[in-house]
């Protein structure tokens, strides 16, 4: 039962990733793409957690930890570029 639900979760996360990817490819401005990029990183964290569950290895969570703490740096770097911060 739980297995089937987790598989369904993978499919839903993949669908969300696909929607965000569509926004990334469609644009229209760079800022829209940055939003889509941010969303995809967070979906990536979910992917990593689900993978850890599927494989049964808790050590995979460390990668999710790194993304959770560092993914906003990329967004801030782009945002500061857009507003001419450096």
């Amino acid at each position: 039962m739980a297995e089937a639900l987790v598989s369904l979760a993978v499919l839903l996360a993949g669908l969300a990733f696909l929607l965000a990817l569509w926004r990334f490819l469609a644009g229209p401005t760079a800022a829209d793409r940055v939003v889509a990029f941010d969303v995809m990183t967070v979906i990536g964290i979910s992917f990593i957690v689900i993978l850890a569950l599927l494989e049964g290895r808790g050590i995979y969570l460390d990668a999710a930890l790194v993304y959770a703490l560092l993914s906003f740096l990329g967004v801030i770097a782009v945002a500061r570029y857009l507003e001419r911060g450096y």
């Binding site: 739980a2 965000a20 926004r23 829209d32 939003v35 889509a36 808790g58 945002a79």
Partner: protein, 110 residues
């Protein structure tokens, strides 16, 4: 009783990823950048939190690390959204025609 916890965990994960889908849908359907940031930030934050909670139900021994991931997401996600929204406003990102009022623009123009 472990079976019940498993099912609750699975349901939480499905619910969380469903919110992720709503976020993605919002990203696609919303009319302008700021509304997209809304959909993206809120939906992914809660979606990921629910996914983490589901994982914690399925594997209670991972609880502390999942809690840390949740704390980090809660503190970084809104921050990046805010910085991006500020930058977008400063460069004059196009706003939807439905926009009724823009007090920040008025104050900066003054």
């Amino acid at each position: 009783m472990a079976g019940l916890l498993d099912i609750v965990g699975g349901l939480l994960m499905v619910g969380g990823t469903a919110f992720l889908v709503f976020g993605g849908l919002g990203l696609v359907r919303m009319p302008d950048l700021f509304n997209r940031i809304h959909a993206g930030t809120k939906a992914t934050t809660l979606g990921t939190l629910l996914t983490l909670a589901g994982a914690a139900c399925l594997r209670p021994d991972w609880g502390w690390k999942l809690l840390l991931i949740a704390v980090f997401i809660l503190s970084t996600n809104p921050l990046s959204a805010q910085v991006l929204a500020r930058a977008a406003h400063r460069i004059g990102a196009a706003m939807s025609v439905k926009t009724r009022v823009d007090r920040l623009e008025e104050d900066q123009g003054a």
